[in-house]
Amino acid sequence: MKRRNFLKTICAASAVAAVTTPSMVLAKEAKPKGANALSYDAAVKAITGGKAVTKSDKVSLTVPEIAENGAVVPVKVNVESPMTETDYVKAIHILTTKNGNARSADVMLTPMNGKGYFATRIKLGGTQDIVALVEMSDGSFLKASKSVKVTIGGCG
């Protein structure tokens, strides 16, 4: 079965296989991290250049508690900001803590956008945190994160 189909039809099982590895399961069986692989920590560092990131109520992140379909998880990020020339949201980054490539979306904004808002759908390889990492025009970084459960559900 192709990995794509596998993910589509049953996000949960593939996810578990790729991400968590209970001691009983052979580590060798875990999917190799390809050229595209990027860990969460490395992704954050690449974006911030090592600058401090502050957890902030200004960033509101809307995600489901349980994903209806792990292949298309709706994510909404709204950042409280006047969006003026001197004070605006410069970028919204959506990251995941356990996907092979942690970096799901990077969106650059200008005051012309009028709102510090972005919504999309991302693929989740399994139960993990989704992180909204936001760069403000003053160069500071804010974030919010929430856990999303990916499951095969009430199956037989």
């Binding site: 578990v16 296989a17 349980i66 009430g154 199956c155």
Partner: protein
Amino acid sequence: MEIDRRDFLQIASALGLVGAAGGTNLFAGEAAKEKIKKLSFSDVVDFKAKGKATILHFCDLHAHLKPLYWREPSTLISAKNLVGTPGFICGESFQKYYGIQAGSLDAYFDTYNDFTELAKKFGKMGGIAHMKPIIDHVKKERGAKNVILLDSGDTWQGTAVALKTKGEAIVDAQNYLGVDVMVGHWEFTYGKERVHELIGKLKGDFISQNVIDNDPFSDDFEELIFPPYTIKEIGGAKIGIIGQSFPFTSTANPKKFTEGWSFALRHESLQKYVDMLRKEKKVDCVVVLSHDGFSVDQELAKKVKGVDFILSGHTHDPSPEPIVVNDTVIIISGSHGKYISRLDLDIKDKKVVDYSFKLMPVASHLIPADKAGEALIAKWYKPFEKELNEVLGTTKGLLYKRDTFYSTFDSLIGMAIKDEMKCDINFNPGYRWGTTVLPGDPITKDNVYEMTAITYPEVYTFDLKGEVIYKLMEDIADNVFNANPLLQQGGDMSRITGASYSIKISAPSGKRISDFMIGGKPIDMKKTYRVSSWGGNLQNVGENLDEKAIRPVYEVVSDYIRRQKVIDIPMESNVKVLDMDCGCPVKGATCS
């Protein structure tokens, strides 16, 4: 003398049924039998009325138009923090929690204790022709205009007559009972179009604030599919009723039925509707009609402010007393038509100042059947009578559903599938609906449908690697035993046949299951096993699906019973729980 709820709980003793010996069998002897007969309809409906408005409630009828036997669980295991709390108590711990007398009518309805013996004494439960006289009685007492009947869903699915009429027979029954408002879950497994058709036939309202359009190309993207709320005036008060359909429908049931609709708890939007009803619509009382599940609703009440009552469903719990979380009163009314709840509201100065509640058992032997209800049942059953009345065989022991890991009727289904499909391991869904067949009784085709009547009955046989099987079990275990009720989905563990395992409930996610044996040998993570399953979506992960072997589960099971003639299923579970010593632990996870 007034009889209140407490007295009713103790009705057996009030009537002098407590034997001098004080043993568990309170009904020994002919004299005691005589006294049981003295219980009557008035004992069922006796109630201390309050105020002017009354809400009647039932949930999870699962299409049972006729009375049935329904045994409550003898195993109801949960995460440790939830053990011993309403929603996770059964048997002895249930009797203790609510002060129920062993051997009483309440014990028969609410617990598994002495089930077979009490079934013979008290008879079948539920049935629309027996529910109706209770509803009529309350409407007569209070005035029909002051009473509404609310239905928390899982109403249209669960029996042959529902499946064969695509839910129509059940909507007819709801109109007969006078359902004013409902929400849904299994309703959605008839597909979007049929759901709308049936709502068109329903005289009441179908409401849900938590189902929205999920198609980004649709003009209605993120718009509501159903009206989110309705307002009813009863007893001179305005009652705002907000609907919560099952938040996990799209993961618990095949997505194809609800493609383009999105389900979730959506407590943020629920809060907005609560505030709007209070401030703009000036309602006197806010009710949430819910299919979230009892424990999820207890969490919901912590997140949402300003809800007076949550009328819950989904998890099938009988709850003789309401649960109060912050200022929200939560009730749930069992399942399968076993109970009708009565909630009287005393509303003064636009506020609920008092209420009274009773879970009324629909004890069919105590309630003379309503003729119109019997005629309705006869009409809908007539075309299918020949097929459904066929006696397939008999059972030696008790056949029941429920329990966290294992039940005898599931085991029978598993054996039937294994016998026909020649698989190594078989998965059966951990639904909480079904039926109970008493020892020595015939098993009819109707009974088999009562366990399996779904719109996706196909049994699939395919290959799965040991590693995948193991991880699936861990995933399912996390949906059942998660310490956070919001991450549970309200079912029981999938049942397996051909395998056994041990489980440590309190272990972290992904590390609960050990000693997993298939065919008597430890599971080989690299080996490919032949797996059969129905009612889920495991086939989507499998390979080498045998297309020719696909057959509806009710036909597979019926053929097996016909071949076997006499069914004898052991009561012992194939799952060992490592950190609980009994099936019905009390708070603190002990069994005393």
